[in-house]
Symmetry: C2
Subunit: 561 residues, 2 copies
């Protein structure tokens, strides 16, 4: 079934609330969800995701393709952002121009959004409205309630969305952290009340639905960090997710308790520290020591916070591991602590980092060695707790790869609730009898190439793969009116290794080949650019396959003067 | 210190045995080790490794660069291959032409090597000599003893190498499997005897030196498979490493005990089944059911063996998961069993496969869910057992990434033995006082591009990365003697996405830009191809960065007629 290009073409029953994910269902990343009723739509979250081994080369950042919204964009009442992680807010500055609608979020998220909008030169254009945690508000036909949950960033909000006959609980990212170290506790009283009032449907986070038990608490993690760092007698460098304010707060406390001073390496850490302080967090965080002053401190009194917990090659930790950081050189018997998990796909990159550090006799401590990281997403028992509190009629798992969403659905069913499977682009009617599939609209991915967003299916991106694998050969022919060569053919090889063959000799042979081919052709071929190109490409292709075993992209320029 | 290009330039003391790894130290893969004395050299293993995320595009297979051996190749007495895994034998058919020396290995390994040599058209040229397990032999100045160990492939041999004053125990890949299901048991009696006779140095496998305990037995794994497969009531498809004959044997037994018939998908499984049977293994393996006959069997009586345990996109399991296998369509409630580990770097690829299967309601069982895989490499307690048996003066860890080799060295030291760190290219003199660093020779990597081996540092390969990230723009100018354009400039963009800009309009603008640039130049610039190219590239570069934010590779062809 071919997806429908425009959401306006989908027949939605009047008075019925509809749900449409355009990103984040079937993947972890680029969350973008819509709720709609009577032709008016609300966007919840607008995130990005990052390239993996299936992404065309040259693309690092990926946004949801929202072309299906083009035809209804005047009917979008606003963009609501649940929290400040990249997969929820990171697409705002790339996609806002296509939407031009107000933004609503709490203060911390607003601060992060404004920084991004500022860097994109959009700060003056985008109305970012701050909402208080726990607030009630109306956006067109949607009644919204912001419910405070816990996560790995301050101000993780669930939304209660009331429209038509339906009350939806949209979880956003969450966990039940009994001691979140920084920021508000989750509002369990309100969750139980909401269960009493009646929730028809939960649309929720599936990330850890395959993981038994509870996700644990930031406070336990602080204890682990205190123990690990307390044992070290030399310099300690810690890397964690920069947006995890609670973790930074814990590290501030640990520094205090172990008699260390903190110095910070990496822009993203400075950004988030500033955002956190500006919005009322990290009140007890110790003053930073400039890296230039570190030499005045004994190694045993240094605690370095560094960006790059995923081994990102341009971040501080990778530079420290390579010994290439301009401000600090780690020394034998220093310790590096990864207070983070390994995001799938980064395993090899991190193994290489561990090796570089181990080679320099630097101790590496990861979450495998000590309890120094907890996940921000609900494990199976937390999901069960929530469903027992809310007692929804139906659950729609989102925010997960297929197996996470399947495991999430199984938990709902196990507890006696209904569960629906959804994929990006599915329009579901949220009826009293549960979600009903209505239609599927186009839901693609856009890659950021330079400053331009392009569909990942763009021909230019698949051409890059061909160039990457086989390189390129160009042939330039200048012919006169009678199709005679006016100069020697020019042949160039780019990205074509010649192995043991001499590159110059290879080129000479290819030039001779072109001349031979031309000499053999009828005037019909010689007079047609297209036939000439085809002939040369065929002969060139055969020759390069025979000599080098590869198929470079060929470009034959025919110029007639 | 710049590595020495030729091994012949290294000053080696007479009568002293030397050790030189050219691959496999600091990495898991492409093992190639040399032992030398008095100008004569022995090669132990000649493996390949596979591309990872750091490899230039278009390269899948990587060999050690043995250019340092060019100057001593007449003095190589032979290539000894410990066992038939790709990282020990896979480089033979790529590198043998550079060495032209006889090959020695046991029957199973010989059979695998001959198949590869046959496919490369080298079967008639390469003398592959079969050695019996436990054999003693002399190769030039080297006394060799083949000691039977266990691993995840039949006929894993350690080598005792006696030369000069030294007795070396080169482990190859090994584990202590108390019940290996197929093939010989490890020769513990001989290991203890060798310890009595005296071993000076062990050069050994570090793969699992960070893993506590024992690696476990193939027999336990068979029990796990029996339990898991016994519980299934529909079709079961199992994937494992094709070369693991014991695993295949176990699956044959499990099929028998659970009343299932086996059908096989994937060339590599057929190859290894054939090799195993031809060399005396798998005597009780049941006859295969052709996949074309599967329809005559109820699903509950089918056991499918499929290649592709690492999610390789062209292997059978990936095709089954996508529903694209020509011979078999898996159905809901079928079960797929991954009797294998995830090789680091393949996590994401496998997660996608699990998702595809979960989407089709096919159950997925991996080694996380049940004891259905054991490693073929020694864990920490097995290393301790070996060192207590052999009591070597020194240990040189090889076959591992740096942290594995470091952990391996720590175990040796913990037991009171010496340990030396080594990296590819290091020449060590194995003296009575332990290994001494002598020199470092060049040890690089060659990538297979098509049919040609090229250094990974080849400029053409880095050009491919530039093409991959930014695409390519070509400009063709035909100028007359007075440097006047004789035809409109031709501009072509390949792999350059134009985003919202119209591609044709973009080209028109670029053509106009070239014409403007030419109009502005002095005759000095116009008469110089080089200056003209530079000028156009500068202006083009600025324009493309401004319009699209990218830096394509530029090629300016200037033809003068």
């Amino acid at each position: 079934m071919k997806p429908i290009a425009n959401l306006s073409q989908v027949q939605c029953d009047p008075g019925v609330l509809h749900f449409l994910p355009l990103g984040g269902s079937g993947e972890i990343g680029m969350n973008l969800n819509l709720y709609g009723i009577d032709g008016q739509w609300l966007i919840v979250d607008i995130g990005i995701t990052f390239a993996d081994d299936t992404t065309p080369p040259g693309i690092d950042v990926i946004c949801p393709d929202i072309s299906a919204l083009q035809s209804i964009k005047e009917s979008i009442v606003g963009i609501v952002i649940t929290h400040a992680h990249e997969d929820h807010v990171g697409g705002l500055h790339y996609l806002w121009r296509q939407l031009k609608t107000p933004v609503y979020c709490t203060a911390f998220t607003a601060s992060v959004a404004r920084r991004k909008l500022g860097e994109a030169g959009l700060l003056d254009q985008v109305p970012v409205n701050e909402v208080l945690p726990g607030a009630f508000m109306e956006l067109g036909p949607f009644g919204l309630e912001w419910v405070t949950l816990t996560h790995s960033i301050p101000e993780a909000n669930a939304l209660v969305i009331r429209a038509g006959e339906q009350t939806i609980f949209h979880t956003g990212d969450w966990k039940l952290d009994p001691d979140p170290v920084e920021g508000a506790h989750y509002d369990d009283r309100r969750l139980l009340e909401l269960g009493e009032l009646g929730i028809d449907c939960v649309v929720g986070d599936s990330t850890n639905a395959t993981v038994d038990g509870w996700s644990g608490s930031e406070a336990e993690c602080q204890k682990g960090l205190l123990e690990v760092i307390g044992q070290q007698t030399n310099r300690v460098a810690v890397t964690c997710f920069s947006s995890n304010t609670a973790r930074l707060s814990s590290l501030g406390d640990v520094a205090h308790e172990t008699g260390r001073r903190i110095s910070v390496l990496g822009r993203s850490l400075f950004n988030y520290l500033q955002t956190a302080k500006a919005t009322g967090y990290l009140r007890n965080f110790p003053p930073l020591v400039p890296t230039t002053d570190l030499d005045y401190l004994p190694r045993s009194e240094q605690l370095i916070l560094a960006t790059g917990s995923q081994g990102e090659p341009r971040a501080a930790m990778a530079k420290l591991a390579k010994g290439e950081h301009p401000d600090l050189l780690l020394e034998p018997d220093d310790t590096v602590v990864f207070s983070s998990k390994v995001i799938p796909g980064n395993e090899k990159k991190l193994d290489r980092l561990y090796d570089l550090l181990s080679n320099k006799k630097i101790h590496v401590i990861t979450e495998r060695d000590a309890p120094i990281h907890v996940s921000g997403h609900p494990c199976r028992d937390e999901l069960r707790w929530l469903y027992r509190a809310l007692r929804p009629s139906f659950v729609i798992p989102v925010h997960g790869e297929d197996r996470h969403m399947a495991a999430h659905a199984d938990i709902a069913v196990e507890l006696g609730f209904g569960a629906s499977r959804v994929k990006n682009g599915d329009v579901l009617a949220l009826t009293a009898d549960g979600p009903k599939f209505v239609a599927c609209v186009y839901a693609g991915r856009l890659g950021l190439s330079g400053t331009v967003l392009v569909p990942l299916s763009d021909r230019a991106l698949s051409e890059r793969r061909v160039l990457a694998v086989g390189g390129m050969v160009t042939v330039t022919l200048v012919l006169d009116k009678k199709a005679r060569l006016m100069a020697a053919p020019q042949v160039q090889l780019i990205g074509v290794p010649s192995g043991e063959l001499d590159h110059k000799v290879l080129i000479q042979n290819l030039v001779a080949l072109v001349e031979d081919v031309l000499a053999d052709q009828s005037s019909r071929v010689l007079q047609s650019d297209e036939l000439l190109r085809e002939t040369i490409q065929r002969d060139f292709g055969a020759m390069l396959r025979r000599w080098l075993g590869i198929k470079p992209r060929q470009l034959v320029n025919v110029v007639r003067v």
